[in-house]
């Protein structure tokens, strides 16, 4: 049971200060637009939080461009819409006290990089992607029994809780997904993804306990994933490095993103 509210609350409250600027070549007006500063929740997705950014910059681009889809770029790379913001930051910037903060993101309205990122032009698409991840995670954890026994309104509550930054609303439903059922006190498999520097991820069936019934830790997970270089790697998630002896079950219950996956970045 995910019942350590202090941790859950801290995870939920995680925010990143972002400085948005419009790509200079796209500025159509004479006046340069002001930079736009925003605190974005780590657990959310960019399409849910950048309405204000779009409103701010759209006045400065040529009229024939402003019906085009907006996209974001960091450090010359287009930013993937469908990753949670915290994961993107961990992947692209890394961590450290105020390292790279505020996060500088360039806003584009032209030349959508079709080959590199998906088009996610409506919030419904994000929702569909989010729900798909959630279901996949529940299949791993409980063979999908819990998510399929939920009603549509529960799904809606999860999504609107995330969308409106309502912790209690989200966790009122999410706690069911984080419960353990039946005779055992752990999930069947741990839903996680480990990302390398390039942003590609690996996924594997890993149980939270060993065959002998011992609780596995993060170290065990790394050993299974990278038997050769397990000692030399660290994982970054939510802007911090969880100690290697953190139990996997606990990590999954407390450190998962709202899509119920642990998104770990290999460093």
């Amino acid at each position: 049971m995910a019942n350590d509210r202090e941790i859950l609350r801290e995870i939920w409250e995680g925010k990143i200060p972002v400085r948005f600027t419009l790509y200079p070549d796209e500025v159509y007006e004479l006046q340069q637009p002001d930079e736009f500063y925003l605190m974005v929740p780590r657990l959310s997705y960019f399409p849910l939080v950048i309405d204000k950014v779009k409103k701010h910059f759209i006045r400065y681009v040529s009229n024939d461009k402003n019906d085009q889809e907006m996209w974001l770029e960091y450090d010359g790379q287009p930013v993937k819409w469908h990753f949670p913001i915290g994961l993107l930051f961990d992947l692209l910037v890394g961590t450290g006290p105020d390292l790279g903060l505020p996060w500088h993101i360039v806003v584009h309205f032209e030349k959508f990089p079709e080959t590199q990122i998906f088009r996610l032009n409506s919030k419904d698409l994000v929702e569909a992607h989010f729900m798909a991840c959630l279901k996949e995670a529940d299949v791993l954890k409980h063979r999908g029994q819990i998510v399929s026994s939920m009603q549509k309104k529960d799904h809606n509550q999860l999504w609107s809780g995330l969308q409106n930054d309502k912790f209690d609303q989200f966790w009122a439903v999410n706690r069911k997904l984080m419960e353990v059922s039946g005779e055992v006190d752990h999930f069947k498999y741990i839903p996680f993804r480990i990302y390398d520097i390039e942003g590609f991820y690996k996924q594997k069936l890993v149980k939270p306990v060993s065959d002998e019934g011992q609780r596995k830790t993060l170290n065990d997970l790394l050993m299974e994933m990278y038997p050769k270089r397990a000692t030399s790697v660290k994982v970054l998630t939510h802007g911090m490095f969880p100690p290697l002896n953190t139990p996997l079950q606990w990590m999954s219950e407390h450190l998962s993103y709202p899509d119920n996956f642990l998104h770990l970045c290999l460093v």
């Binding site: 049971m1 019942n3 350590d4 202090e6 941790i7 801290e10 995870i11 995680g14 925010k15 200060p17 736009f36 500063y37 925003l38 605190m39 974005v40 929740p41 959310s44 849910l48 939080v49 950048i50 204000k52 961590t95 006290p97 105020d98 903060l101 505020p102 969308q163 409106n164 930054d165 309502k166 912790f167 209690d168 609303q169 009122a172 039946g182 005779e183 006190d185 939510h238 802007g239 911090m240 490095f241 969880p242 100690p243 002896n245 953190t246 606990w250 450190l255």
Partner: protein, 1242 residues
């Protein structure tokens, strides 16, 4: 759910208890007797001792078990001798019971056993139905079975008087031995004992059934066991079929009895009903398999579990406790189901939860997931609770290595246990004698233990007689039952105790006294608490938490960044139905609630979504209340200052209702800035649906200037003359009213009046109305004078007309009225014009009325009296389901549920529909209520009683009045928070008595009903009831086991509080140790009295009044600060012809309510004071639907508030010394109110 106890016996035969609110096994005081088996129901434990004798343990009762022995002394008048003890041969005994059938000679009335003690000597009862009698207490009648009168008449031929004497069960909280079957206790010892049957359908409350098996395999039934007689009367033999040797017995709470035989079969007792507690006959049930012998059985309400000799556990299908007395099938079930797990013993609670002892590890297990729908549960889970080990125990030496010094992680431990010096000493001791035999240290310590015991001479003398007390440990039992007070001084002699985290080998577990809610399991299961406990301190968790917190540096570098998701403004919309008048017709609508930063608006649209039906600002809302009917979830929103003053919304589901209730309530709370705990000077109110509301008494301070001065300024510009307005305050001496206005050009006369409430007199069942005017100021321009006058009950007095008219046509004026002790002083344009001597008490002036040609601009009122408009109070909702809430000056607040459970406000807020941050410190709460319907039948000559009534008759299934049709199938639960907890059952406890099948007979409907069918009876009825329970949450903490029907609190000084309560039997109690820091207090102390009370109230701690069940009022005498309990009750006659049922006292007087809802008032400390009656007046009757009288009264320091039975809240105005009854009511909102407490206010 109240806390309850699980009992266990360890391998040494010591008895331990585990409280559902605690987490540790505590040993029952050891008095030298080991035990083998236990069987219990709440508060009553029967045990089989190591000597194979039977012992009873009564515990945890706050009210002593008292029995009042009554004996009537009868005499007959004989012509010459006068009244004489010689009676006619046909008469009753000289000393008899009330109906005369039983000989009750005083000398022969003895204590039933040594466990009882007399309280005082025989005394005469000197009252008859509340009316006092002469000193010899005789009551007179024409002949014996007749009406008795207090006065002797010429026709009185017999007389009688009542002798009473109370006896008390003195073996409370100690083991009481039951006499052996034979003189030689070893001749036929017992081998099994069981108790149950506390909820036999329709039986008198308090009945308990006890069965036992002797070593000769004879089955014994104990007769006469009840809460009034815990040890019962005697053993009676119950025969068993030939060839059946009973080994073990179990009885469920419904009275169902199963027995296991030595050969492995089982027997079921058939026919256990309220008429026949020991049942009729045995029916055999085969074991689950050919070689599977049943060894042990345990029965809950509707389940039977058994263990076979190979340690397998079996569940019996098809058992239904409620029907088991009449149906063989339901008693015997229909098949065995095998369960996983090897157990040596099972024990089932009264709500069918299952505990067991593992066959191999001898640990206690709980069956997870047992519910009404799934009686077999999911899996076994072991209990982990630390064990209290006394040093006298040999387990202590076995496990001494495992003793843990708890001083580091003593989160749950009693404070005193942190000093582990005792254990340390002892270890040293044992180390210092390494060569001694292992038993030596134990022996030494045991010796010490015994020494302390010897101070109590009763201990260690287990006399083998009925009811002898084995040992009393008055101190220790509290530690067991009041685990919430873990920091108390109970463990002063702590070196005797230690705590061990080792797995004790258990030999017995008894769950009968225990009530477990499967949804809220106690803290007994190590995984949850310990895992979390250990997790919280793990370095990896601390590291993660620290890292998470330091992700962003703490300086406000980013404080001017915009937030991505704006949560401060929102719109909530949905569909519903609305009713804006009292027609009860709801029409479809669309609701939109908009909240922008600090302002909210509710818009009601027509279903097309375009046109507006109603719209108002959320500022107007004073109360959001649930007003659901079963099946239609409804909410009422009170907006008293706009029309309509109340709208009602109906929703499609309970979820929708709660969602809207939550949104509307949070918004209005935000607007009124109500958050955090309830203020100490709040007024608490409860609605008929059990919802709790609070009006923050500090809000009224807005118009308060200093302690004795209130001010209100009312803008009257634009108000059309004539008008009458409430001032919501009294013009008591010291009041200054200033009115500014302008006289019209063409005016002849106008009038400015200070009015009092009308007087209503009941004439021929109709109210006659008489106006009252305290001060009438009437300038007449044609006569050039100003007339001053008063109207008393519709009649003008003598006019005072000296002086000229100072008002000028067409000119502005300022009129100032200053109220002095004796007169009003009237100033016109700042010049004193005249004085006017009071004819009516000035406090009666509560209204301003203006007539004639003038315009008013503004009114300013400065007054020492409280200005309060009851309509404008904002009622903030709190969670919980309660019947009444009482508070006191220091803010300590108690509540009572419908099931008479007492709750204490724990300074939290929210609960019920509030979630997240809107809730704090809320606990789960449960409450229950009964639904009742009446089945009516009429007799006809052919078929006897049938449900075919005459066309003019009432419905054959109806409510109590017969006017409403009520069938059992149609009764619905109020909301999703409620669920049924029983089936429909015949109620055998209807006032007036019932026959064997629950029927009551009468000559015709509607009439008085009686239990026995008589020749003239043509109709009969019986009452059915079904119990339902609500599960909700609220900032309340449960108080304890004792059920209370009334409670009242008053502060003694700045810290401590005197709390009086009434137990369900009407016994008065006082709660010790209540203070602002311990609002729940320590324990109840019974205040002995022979009278049963129906309500109690303390105005100040010295002023305690009660009403008796007989309708009298009682006043407690002799209360001092060092003796809060006082000394004696003084009976005060009720008003002529009235029976009081509720009383509320304060400095504002003694206010009482009779059974018909009439109010009576008296003033304290005045000799020859009589009750004055306050009639209900039409003003108060109009506000609520179907109001006929008053339901509740709350008297405070100066204020008196009341609630009508239509749910309207009222504030009494015009109470002053000259007129203690006041003059009239100022109306509040018709909020379906039921109870109000204003003790903390003012």
């Amino acid at each position: 759910m109240p806390s309850s106890l699980l009992f266990g016996i360890n391998n040494e035969g010591r008895v331990y208890t585990l409280s559902t609110t605690g987490g540790m096994w505590r040993e029952l005081p050891y008095v030298g007797q080991e035990f083998k088996k236990l069987s219990g129901i709440p508060h009553f434990l029967w045990a089989l001792g190591g000597d194979h004798q039977v012992y009873v343990y009564v515990h945890g009762l706050d009210i002593p078990i008292r029995v009042r022995e009554e004996c009537y002394e009868n005499e007959r008048w004989i012509p010459i001798e006068g009244f004489s003890t010689r009676l006619l041969p046909t008469d009753r005994f000289k000393f008899s019971s009330a109906d005369g059938t039983v000989d009750r000679t005083i000398q022969n009335i003895r204590l039933p056993s040594m466990a009882w003690q007399w309280e005082g000597d025989w005394q005469l009862d000197l009252t008859l139905n509340g009316q006092p009698l002469d000193h010899d207490g005789w009551t007179y009648a024409v002949d014996f079975p007749a009406q008795y009168y207090p006065k002797k008449q010429w026709k009185s031929c017999v007389r009688r008087r009542l002798w009473v004497r109370s006896r008390r069960y003195s073996a409370m909280n100690s083991w009481c031995a039951i006499a052996p079957l034979h003189k030689d206790a070893t001749a036929e010892p017992f081998i099994d004992i069981c108790i149950g049957g506390q909820s036999i359908t329709g039986a008198e409350p308090g009945i308990m059934l006890v069965w036992a098996v002797t070593s000769h395999n004879r089955v014994m039934f104990r007769t006469g066991v009840s809460t009034r007689s815990p040890e019962g009367a005697k053993w009676t033999l119950v025969s068993v079929p030939v060839g059946c040797e009973i080994n073990q017995l179990s009885i469920g709470s419904s009275g169902l009895v199963w027995a296991s035989l030595l050969d492995g079969r089982a027997l079921v007792r058939i026919g256990v009903t309220r008429d026949n507690f020991s049942g009729d006959s045995w029916v055999e049930v085969r074991g689950p398999g050919p070689n599977l012998r049943i060894m042990q059985i345990s029965i809950g309400m509707s389940s039977v579990w058994a263990v076979t000799q190979n340690k397998q556990v079996w569940f019996r299908k098809g058992i239904k406790g409620e029907g088991s007395g009449t149906s063989e099938e339901l008693a015997a079930g229909c098949g065995w189901v095998e369960m996983v797990g090897r157990m040596s013993l099972v024990s089932v609670t009264a709500n069918d939860q299952v505990f067991a002892i593992g066959a191999d590890d001898r640990a206690v297990y709980y069956r997870m997931g047992v519910s009404f729908g799934d009686q077999t549960g999911k899996r076994w889970r072991s209990l982990h609770a630390p064990l209290q080990v006394s040093r006298a125990s040999s387990n202590a030496s076995l496990s001494r290595d495992r003793f843990q010094n708890q001083s580091n992680s003593s989160l749950n431990r009693p404070h005193s246990l942190c000093e582990s010096s005792g254990i340390g000493d002892w270890e040293e001791q044992s180390h210092s004698a390494p060569s001694a035999p292992t038993s030596l240290p134990v022996g030494e310590l045991a010796g010490k233990h015994f020494e302390t015991q010897l101070k109590n001479p009763k201990a260690w003398s287990p006399v083998r007689s009925v009811g002898s007390v084995v040992g009393t440990e008055v101190i220790s039992d509290e530690s067991v039952y009041n685990s919430e007070r873990q920091d108390s001084c109970i463990f002063a002699e702590d070196e005797e105790l230690g705590w061990a985290e080792y797995e004790a080998p258990w030999s017995w577990v008894e769950a009968g006294p225990c009530t477990i809610d499967p949804n809220q399991l106690p803290n007994w299961f190590a995984e949850v608490p310990t895992l979390q406990q250990t997790e919280l301190d793990q370095p990896w968790r601390l590291k993660i938490l620290e890292d998470l917190k330091s992700r962003l540096s703490n300086d406000n570098k980013y404080s001017d960044y915009q937030v991505a998701i704006d949560t401060s403004s929102w719109v909530h919309s949905g569909e519903g139905r609305i009713c804006m008048d009292s027609t009860n017709v709801f029409i479809d609508c669309v609701l939109q609630l908009e909240w922008v930063h600090t302002a909210g608006t509710l818009t009601v649209l027509h279903p097309d979504g375009a046109s507006t039906m109603h719209q108002f600002s959320m500022n107007e809302v004073t109360c959001v209340q649930c007003c659901s009917d079963p099946g239609s979830p409804r909410l009422s929103i009170h907006t008293p200052n706009i029309t309509p003053p109340v709208i009602r919304l109906q929703f499609s589901s309970d979820t929708m209702l709660e969602e809207w209730q939550r949104h509307l309530s949070t918004i209005s709370m935000q607007i009124h800035n109500c958050n955090g705990k309830a203020n100490d000077s709040s007024v608490w109110a409860v609605t008929k649906l059990g919802e709790v509301y609070v009006w923050d008494g500090l809000q009224q301070k807005a118009n308060k200037i200093d302690d004795n001065n209130y001010e209100q300024i009312i803008d009257l510009a634009g108000k059309e003359v004539p008008f009458t307005m409430h001032l919501h305050a009294s013009c008591v001496p010291g009041t200054i009213i200033t009115i500014n206005g302008c006289v019209s050009d063409d005016v002849d006369r106008f009038a400015i009046n200070l009015d009092a409430h009308n007087t209503y007199k009941l004439k021929h069942k109709a109210h006659a109305e008489y106006e009252n005017c305290v001060l009438h100021i009437n300038p007449r321009f044609n006569d050039n004078l100003i007339v001053r006058n008063s109207m008393i009950e519709g009649k003008w007095g003598e006019e005072e007309r000296n002086g000229n008219n100072m008002f000028r046509r067409g000119q502005e004026f300022s009129l100032k009225i200053l109220c002095k002790e004796d007169d009003f002083i009237i100033y016109i344009d700042d010049e004193q014009y005249c004085t006017y001597r009071h004819r009516l008490p000035p406090a009666a002036a509560t209204m301003l009325s203006v007539r004639g040609g003038l315009k008013l601009f503004k009114l300013k009122m400065n007054t020492p009296s409280l200005i309060l408009n009851p309509l404008e109070l904002y009622w903030r909702p709190f969670g919980g389901h309660l019947r009444r809430v009482e508070t006191c000056k220091l803010g300590v607040t108690w509540g009572i549920g419908y099931d008479h459970t007492a709750w204490v406000y724990n300074c939290g807020w929210g609960g019920a529909c509030f979630v997240g941050l809107d809730s704090n410190n809320v606990n789960p709460m449960a409450d229950s209520q009964d639904y009742r319907v009446y089945e009516n039948q009429r007799w006809n000559p052919v078929t006897g009683y049938t449900s075919a009534g005459l066309p003019t008759d009432r419905y054959m299934w109806s409510d109590a009045t017969g006017k409403q049709k009520r069938t059992r199938d149609q009764v619905k639960l109020l909301s999703m928070r409620w669920q049924w907890v029983s089936d429909w059952l015949v109620d055998f406890h209807v006032p007036g008595g019932v026959d064997r099948d629950g029927w009551q007979y009468a000559v015709d409907f509607p009439s008085t009903y009686h239990a026995n069918k008589q020749f003239t009876d043509c109709v009969r009825r019986r009452r059915w009831y079904r119990r339902c329970a609500v599960a909700t949450t609220g900032p309340w903490q449960e108080l304890g086991h004792t059920k209370v029907i009334d409670v009242s609190l008053a502060s003694v000084n700045d810290v401590s509080i005197s709390v009086w309560g009434l137990a369900t039997g009407g016994q008065a109690m006082i709660r010790t140790g209540v203070s602002t820091s311990t609002p729940a207090g320590v324990k109840w102390e019974h205040v002995a009295s022979d009278q049963a009370y129906s309500s109690i109230c303390c105005g100040s701690f010295k002023q305690v009044w009660a009403t008796g069940r007989n309708g009298c009022a009682y006043k407690r005498l002799g209360i001092r600060e060092d003796n809060l309990e006082g000394q004696s009750w003084l009976c005060i006659e009720p008003p002529q012809g009235a029976q009081l049922k509720h009383i509320s006292v304060g400095a504002a007087g003694i206010w009482a309510l009779d059974i018909h809802g009439n109010i009576y008032v008296r003033v304290e400390n005045i000799k020859s004071e009589k009750w004055r009656s306050v009639n209900i007046d039409p003003a108060a009757l109009t506000g609520g639907l179907h109001a006929t009288g008053f339901k509740h009264l709350a008297a405070g320091y100066k204020e008196v508030w009341a609630v009508t039975n239509g749910g309207l809240m009222l504030r009494r105005q015009g109470i002053c010394q000259e007129n203690p009854t006041g003059t009239g009511w100022d109306l509040g909102i018709p909020g379906n109110w039921q109870h109000i407490s204003i003790k903390a206010f003012e």
